[in-house]
Symmetry: C2
């Protein structure tokens, strides 16, 4: 990994995280990175491959740490039931850890999910981890029907993506200090309550 490649990846990670993929041009990236335009295509091939490289560089270690933590928790549990808070912890703690060193990547991840324009990237880099965690959620919440479980994981991803993307648009949070690990703690507690909630009755009219 040359210095040029790292400068490109760092800048792409930051700018795409802040502005989105479609709204960020290669020329803006290379200008702020201080490299030549052709270097992007020489090292990465295309704009889409650049995003892929930026994601895989950071997502790989995070997902490995998630799986490792889940392995540990599942081993401790043996045949018994899993605790939903432990599963959530396995999922969010590695993200909080990497965030302590670098706030930019988690915003890129939020964009990836929110923008939703690159399902193949989500598929390639996050789906295997998601599969493992879906199984863990099932074990932690065996009374939840499969479809309800999938939706609740979907809600979790949405809340996470929006939370990681940037400062809140709510008046009181705009100028709050950006303490993302604390944010993740709050999110985790909120999601824990959500996962434990009773299922909505279908078609209730009040």
């Amino acid at each position: 990994m040359t210095e040029t490649q790292e400068k490109i990846l760092d800048t792409a990670e930051r700018l795409i995280g802040e502005q989105g993929y479609a709204a960020t041009s290669l020329r803006q990236i290379i200008a702020e990175a201080g490299v030549n335009l052709a270097a992007v295509h020489y090292h990465f091939g295309s704009k889409e491959d650049l995003l892929d490289a930026a994601v895989v560089r950071k997502a790989g270690p995070v997902n490995e740490a998630r799986i490792a933590a889940l392995d540990r928790v599942e081993q401790e549990a043996g045949e018994g039931q899993l605790d939903i808070d432990d599963v959530l912890d396995c999922f969010f703690r590695p993200m909080a850890d990497v965030t302590r060193r670098n706030q930019k990547f988690v915003r890129l991840m939020g964009r990836i999910y929110s923008e939703g324009l690159m399902p193949q990237i989500v598929q390639k880099h996050f789906q295997p981890t998601m599969g493992r965690f879906l199984a863990a959620f099932r074990r932690a919440l065996p009374e939840l029907p499969e479809e309800e479980l999938l939706w609740r994981v979907h809600f979790m991803v949405g809340a996470m993506a929006h939370t990681m993307c940037g400062p809140s648009s709510l008046p009181g949070l705009m100028d709050a200090p950006v303490d993302i690990p604390r944010r993740i703690e709050r999110l985790q507690a909120f999601l824990s309550g959500g996962f434990r909630a009773p299922i909505a009755a279908a078609g209730e009219k009040k």
Copy 2:
């Protein structure tokens, strides 16, 4: 409101909702709407103003219905405490209602929030309603510190935006029938549990 204007707004609502604002070009909109390119600028002024018009057209009635529902619930409660489920119902039921007639707008709303590139639009059209609901959430959850409450509302918006944006990327939900009102019921139950959850201890190390 001429037929041309409606065709433009309908198509913009659909395409921007599906693809995002930056990724959708005016030429794609006018091609699918079957109108001339200049008509967009003649009727709306600019691309940004077009988005604004598409939002205000549908968001206005939804937010009015939300406020009306909240008025009713608050009147019934008198001086007493509000029920969080009632407040959530005031917020989500008008959205579910409009969704039963038109699924496109709620996806556009999701995009607006997710893309986060137009804080001024969110500010202009959603902030007044949000202010009323923040006060209601405070009354329903008086034991929650202000900052925690703001974050939980933020999580709610994120889960909502992601859920409204489109089909889930989770394997089991990709080909599920798109029953958005049912989706909203599930989301509401999930959020109810989240809002009631105990607050996370700060900096817990497990």
